[in-house]
Symmetry: D2
Subunit: 378 residues, 4 copies
């Protein structure tokens, strides 16, 4: 029998928030959660108003995180919120996540999990002796064919890896970067709000995460050349990173926010000794499988021939496209299983280690460019 | 301010039902509905069990439709379920829908809306003097780029239409049709459960519906050649239909369930005097716009350049794929607006007339083939 | 050792002729032919001028076919032209081909091979007792992946065929048909120059030919609905044809010259009991292989895994696109082998039977529509 | 009136040579050349034998280059070979090209034009005061949509360039590199036959050439990380190169011969301030044009809307694929025009400067990796 629905709270993600609706739809996809409360907005009245619209009990809507922790902790265990999603602005992630962990909540945290690698390591240390679930919203790992790719590589489908290539090209910063006023006012290019990095921190890290997620390898060193395009812009809007993974495996990661008119062009190619696998986010329900001397094979979501983690990540029959929110839904399903004590695959959701790795990557890339495009260890 | 959430009940769609989860996710996408009750299963205990899993009030779970109508009608208006989704087996649609209409409920009915055109006309007549919303789950009309196609054609983007072509190819019946036992036992090929038609009734009608939805034209006559493949199989598993629309417009509609290994290959092409539009369900977030003497244009979902109905049907920024459930979600959002008395575009959801048209088409196709591949008027 | 180059003459295809350059490049691709002479133009002086530009011996340039036959026949066998390509306007094909056959020449004739099925049958009868090679320029049969498709179907790769679908959509007539003057003056719509049919005769017949070429089946009956779009236009510019092949195999062939802004969109899909094969002319170097329950396979030209006829039809390594002229080149290579007495596969070039079949198809389609969209046997 | 056909000789490219047939078909495409003689093979008898097969005058077949130069130079100008194509093994290119230039012949030289940048500069110096045509077989510049891309960028279609990305992935070396014996015996990995570089020298340089050809920019600095995969293999089989072009323009060039099972995956993306252009060799007849805030546009070969250099590089109507040999044919047509004294666009064929640039790039890449992945100026 299905376990009771997990009581769930949301920090941020108020009425007009895109990320809020994504989390709420995603969490609802498996009948695993009951949205119980949260703090949706800095403005408490807006938060309460939104709660009314959602039909939530107003007593579970809090003015801030302190109030949430205090009140929820005082409730009997069966009543209490178990999972809290942190979908607030980036600079709040570390503080909120660390307090939630310490207060005993399971946490799903938006990305980037922290502002620095040191903070991410602090979270990792906090979590060490605990049984709490901590997930990072690396949504792309929730796509079924990304999970298929990870599974096939682990099963040896392409042999030992010899080359990797990832790309994440967007163009939206192009629309603001060339205007001296706009580039000073857009939050993404403001270090106070956005953190150390724009391009690598926002999207490059997704490509990095997918590379490590699908290959099972760790990127050991990075050499980067980032670009801010204008001297009065301090954050990277473009960067290419040479990679060295394990012994004898090289690779490249290309990221840009000034790849004009690109939408969300995230691609991944992993070449092994006997074959290769290629995936593209804008056409997410297929996976190219290249094999030495054989025809190209296109695996598609929704088929019995896929591996169990990919099959479990698909709700509909083959040919019925699932998308980005469905991918996020798979993260929530994995988290629910873990909270409910069910066995989960290591790929079911990205944990704090993926957060630590991601922050180390961002810092390594920035240091490499700052120091004259030299190799930096992660 | 957002209206209160609409109380909503579901008939069918119990625990293991695919269509149930699709409807529940879709209805949740806009924060418009509150799942309040229903009758999920013929077996009342299973229904109750599922309600417990969903955290629903057990008093709103009913043994059957009669009980639901009686109990809900007795509640004060503000408490009462307003929308009922009919997701039961096909043969029950007409009976349930007509009783719900007469009891004053808004209805969203799975497709096919009835078993015969006459029944669909009966529903249409019932609805004539009423203000109730009645929607048919022609999910594909909810895709943003289908709505863009409809809007562009209406706006004259391709000039007067001169040729249409639709195709809906699936392969799944191939796996059962060649085995004399299986083809006798699969429900889709059993007229008692499936109705008059398999291929045209299940999928051909979707292609028909999209043709009329996007072009604004009516198909006036059809000449078909259907195939049952084996003499002991009574239902069509393949059919090609010559079409005549308005004056001087011809077309073709190809449907098959024995297009081996095809998944859900639904495509639409409409040719006008100055250009053409082409859409494919398996790659739903783009629309090909061909123009005489100009380069091919690919419109994609999530952009400001799209028409309002397409923009309103997209939740995420360009490049973040949305899929089949998102399309269904757009139908629910249109229905919610209509229930809440907001102005809705005629394309916001397919109404009973699309149900009537679809049933007439199915019957015309069957009659054409039965009578020796002759023209039959719709 | 390679045989001596075959002496070759060209009728039509003068200086500004597109079809002429295509034939000359194609014939040169295998080092099989020596362009020796011909009659390139109705105007003898233009013909001579063109010969000078090509560096040809002026004595082998003739004022007309009579002169060519007379002079060449008088030469010693080793000097004599062996193959004559007929690339003149359509209405001359039958007359020229029949005289060339009777004079003992091998012939490669542009399509349509004749103006009527009766004429094509006359040519077939003329050829019956002779060893002469007669080829029809159904160029698309020369594409390597079309040959792969034919070979795989013959080898049982998709099992017994149960459904076929072909489409040939062009848009160029749209640019002239809506103008009352233009539609009276374009040669393609003038029955005196173009023959009985425009759309079916020019392009539908290619799709027909490919269906029979790849499947090895014969289309037994056709039911069509053609469209002339305007009452004062006598030739079809659009037509859809229901097909019946062998017992229990149905299909459809869609052709149009008013599919606005389509270029040369010829596609072919053949569904068998265990799989399917799909090919598209605008992306000719790949072949989709669908199999029940297995991932989609994309075969590409230039690989060892292809069958011998496909391998023999590729000159370059995989990934180096070959195109339309390369396909025509493969027809010429097949003809050369046949002339040189080497064993050739039945698919090496389309013979007079494909010409007869094609003309019968055209006439059946026209008759079907003329008689009220009834079944007509081929 | 068309000029007389240019007498043309071929060095290398004998009977079984792939590159030979490519050159002969390509040269024949425009009726510009007359293959007159050459030295096809180190073995003079094989060379003579091949000439007999081609029907060439045996007196114009030479034992070696000295003989060719001596004999041809002694002929009257009108009889004499004008253009010589050098299609011999790489290590012979420089010696042959320099002697041919000095003897007054026009030259089309296979790529790499020399073994070192210094040699290429020597050729450039030799050519300075001469009117002779010298072309390098950078075949990809002959594709119509590459020429369209060049023309559109020059015309400002995408605004000032801010980012470039090129990729050339092949997989064929993977099949030999992992076998200790094979990797010692394949000519491509043997420095004596192949030169300083395998991956960058053979394919990376094509990507480099296309970047400079289409953008009109010069790559000023390169920082590379190459890979030989095994310590006992001395030549690069993979390499990624960070690029800096002009002021404020960065880019990346990725090349690999161990991208397992890739065929000939050469792609190019150029991002400007208002738009972007993307081209892929394996689908060469289309060009993606991205524009800020507008739908994606796909330009296709064969249309009037293309620029003159692209239109001139297409022989067939839109929708009739042209391929690799057609691209090479466009180089030959440009060379013929130049030889005949007609005005040619600077993009008509790649000259010695593209050879010099390419060799400098190869050497810069090698030096960068050798010196620890540092920036090297070209």
């Amino acid at each position: 029998m299905k376990p009771d629905r997990i009581k769930w709270a949301l920090l941020g993600g108020g009425a007009d928030s895109l990320i809020g609706i994504v989390h709420r739809i995603a969490a609802g996809m498996g009948d695993d959660y009951q949205l119980t409360g949260g703090a949706f907005n800095f403005d408490f009245r807006k938060s309460q108003q939104f709660a009314r619209e959602l039909g939530l009990d107003p007593r579970r809507i809090y003015a801030n995180l302190d109030a949430l922790i205090a009140a929820e902790s005082a409730l009997p265990a069966a009543e209490r919120v178990k999972l809290v999603t942190v979908a607030t602005p980036n600079y709040l992630h570390f503080d909120m996540a660390s307090r939630l962990i310490q207060a005993g909540f399971h946490v799903l945290c938006e990305k980037p999990v922290t502002s620095t690698a040191a903070e991410a390591e602090t979270l990792a240390n906090l979590l060490k002796a605990r049984q709490q679930v901590f997930a990072v919203a690396h949504t792309y790992t929730g796509y079924p064919m990304v999970r298929q790719m990870r599974g096939m590589i682990a099963a040896g489908a392409i042999g030992p890896i010899q080359k990797v290539a990832a790309q994440y090209y967007q163009g939206w910063i192009n629309a603001v970067i060339h205007d001296p006023v706009k580039r000073k006012t857009v939050w993404r290019l403001d270090p106070a709000k956005s953190g150390q990095s724009s391009c690598i921190g926002d999207i490059g890290v997704h490509a990095f995460n997918l590379l490590e997620y699908t290959t099972g390898l760790q990127i050991e060193q990075a050499l980067s050349d980032i670009d801010t395009l204008y001297p009065d812009n301090s954050l990277d809007v473009d960067g290419t990173v040479l990679l060295r993974l394990g012994p004898h495996v090289k690779g490249v990661l290309c990221a840009s926010q000034i790849a004009t008119a690109e939408e969300n062009n995230l691609t991944l190619a992993v070449y092994g000794r006997t074959g290769a696998l290629k995936w593209a986010q804008e056409n997410p329900n297929q996976l190219e499988f290249l094999q030495e001397g054989k025809p190209l094979t296109l695996l598609k979501a929704g088929h019995e021939y896929n591996l169990p983690p990919a099959r479990a990540a698909t709700k509909l029959p083959a040919g019925h496209p699932e998308g980005f929110i469905d991918a996020m839904g798979n993260l929530y399903r994995g988290v629910a299983k873990a909270i409910n004590g069910q066995a989960v695959d290591a790929g079911a959701y990205p944990g704090i280690d993926s957060g630590v790795r991601g922050m180390r990557f961002i810092e390594a890339v920035l240091r490499s460019s700052r120091n004259g495009n030299v190799w930096v260890k992660l």
